[in-house]
Symmetry: C2
């Protein structure tokens, strides 16, 4: 069967011809429908993040997938069920407490592998197998957008951690600032806009389709070149919640400047190193005097995937239509890695 | 009556002769027993923090107090009840939502005053009055150490926020690192040591009475000059919980280096500004990849004061005896501002 992957030392994805996997009892054989491409894929391709499996010379890409159960083996799934796979799996050394308590997203990097990213083949192939507990059922009607459950789950987890961090007191966030109008930023805006006033900070010129989406969601676009993060409270208003979805290194510090008292900044983006002169005293003092918090968040657990599947049914159809700018068949897969907003490789239809 | 305060522009506390306050209905007249001195008092005296009341030319100091009800007026208190006052009060402009929902500690600085610190007279006088809801009852047996309920409440609140920030997943902290062996640091060690392995980082030479207290509590003293914060994981072990109790500006950033995956740093200390070159990308990435959090915490609310009063009954007697190094009568009050560990001014006995 066809699979899209990256060779060790390679600089661009290519097609591989690999054996169709054979599900063991307790595993499910899934026929892949669509697999999304995101910034992490580009980091993996560039060699900045992740790793090939220990015994392989290439990595099958893809961690945002939706598929149809082809063979449920001994599991409770039925042939034809639409499913989304979770990303993390136990490491080669075996399972551990994080997986045993169904919190794979809380495993340190050394205690897990990530399919399609770090140490395990992904889902960008005509079929894949997975143990049943790592598959989340999706209503058939939501199959076309099911591959978005994974990036939405990442947003859901960040919001879960952010809300928990404010659960010791009365906290009713009214204003959010989303940093970034890339795919993850747009999903955060889509999730938050029905609940509060949302500002979305980007660095693009109009006209731009992502700015149109931000505004169609009822949010306010902020040009970060004219209004940097720390100026948002003065020019607009302070934010009860900041969602950092760019990985810009300075944002971990600058987010705190944008917060209202008792606010929280949730960091999702993964930056590289960058030295910067920071007034660490002011950063520290602002956190203390205003009861502010910063939470980092990576990956997502089962509760977040289930929340994300629920969200698929709530977000407006126009959003998906405009957000997923490119559907690419397997034989033109290269185009999915050069999309204007968000792309998915289409392997099959329901 | 005698009161200890600081004049506008003054550089050391002095005795004032002020009128004994007259409680309004709903207020309680409290006869002061003991009032503790802490780092905030020194910051107020130095002019680095706080303010005198709007209509005054001096500020009565003291925010760590214990006293006895002298006149309960119309309240449910009885004469002779031992009480501890909370610190925050509504601002001159009137009450607000934070006070109405009994979360004064979550009020932004502009929405509250702080008795003895910022805009309202403190408790360092022979008598003080307070509305009944701001008084926390203390068992008579704990009266001698009741003034420590306030600093303990500050620790309790920080731990409350820290635990809340980790409440979205299974978190069983086993290791804590307390930064600082000043009074607040020692109280944090005393509170945490029965629950987990505690390291306490300071910068003092042995022999030192605070190091003796740390070790008597079963914690490990770490000399920060030999083992800086970021080296603690390598030399000892990573910490599930960091409690920052020094106000050293760089600690807001360095604390994250000391955390284990899924850990949280609770910041209590109040630093001044300080520019520092920081690898903000690594700071940001460590928060994200390891699901770490940083929470700032200031002041304390009623639930934390009640927890602190409970804690007074749990901590060993030897701890209080050694921790409070100096009891000073009012006529030698100056000595309380130059204590070796922790001092209190004694106004009266039960």
């Amino acid at each position: 069967m066809r699979a899209i992957g990256i060779e060790t030392g390679g600089d661009r994805p290519r097609l591989f011809d690999v054996a169709r996997p054979d599900p063991a009892p307790g595993e499910v054989l899934v026929r892949t429908l669509r697999v999304g491409v995101d910034g992490t894929d580009h980091e993996v391709i560039a060699g900045d993040h992740g790793s090939v499996p220990a015994d392989a010379e290439y990595l099958v890409l893809g961690h945002e997938a939706v598929g149809v159960v082809e063979d449920p083996t001994t599991t409770a799934f039925e042939r034809g069920d639409v499913v989304v796979p979770m990303v993390r799996r136990p490491p080669p050394s075996g399972t551990n407490a994080y997986f045993e308590r169904a919190e794979p997203d809380m495993a340190p990097p050394s205690d897990c592998v990530e399919r399609g990213i770090d140490g395990a083949h992904g889902f960008m192939s005509e079929y894949f197998t997975s143990p049943a507990p790592y598959l989340v059922p999706v209503p058939a009607a939501d199959a076309p957008w099911g591959f978005l459950a994974e990036p939405i789950s990442v947003v859901e987890k960040a919001l879960d951690l952010a809300r928990a961090s404010r659960s010791a007191f009365t906290w009713t966030p009214e204003t959010a600032l989303v940093l970034g109008n890339g795919p993850l930023g747009l999903l955060a805006v889509a999730v938050l806009a029905p609940e509060m006033d949302v500002y979305c900070l980007g660095r693009r010129d109009r006209p731009d389709p992502t700015i149109d989406i931000v505004e169609s969601l009822g949010a306010t676009y902020v040009d970060g070149r004219q209004t940097p993060v720390e100026s948002v409270p003065r020019v607009h208003e302070p934010a009860d919640l900041v969602v950092e979805a760019t990985g810009e290194p300075r944002h971990a510090v600058e987010s705190v400047d944008a917060l209202a008292s008792n606010g929280v900044a949730a960091l999702l983006g993964l930056p590289g190193p960058q030295d910067l002169t920071v007034d660490v005293g002011r950063f520290h003092e602002s956190l203390v005097m205003h009861n502010k918090a910063v939470v980092g968040s990576v990956n997502a657990g089962p509760t977040h995937f289930h929340a994300a599947v629920d969200r698929l049914g709530e977000l407006p159809a126009w959003f998906f239509d405009r957000f997923v700018s490119d559907f690419v068949p397997v034989d033109r897969f290269e185009a999915a890695f050069d999309a204007s907003i968000k792309a998915a490789v289409e392997f099959d239809t329901v």
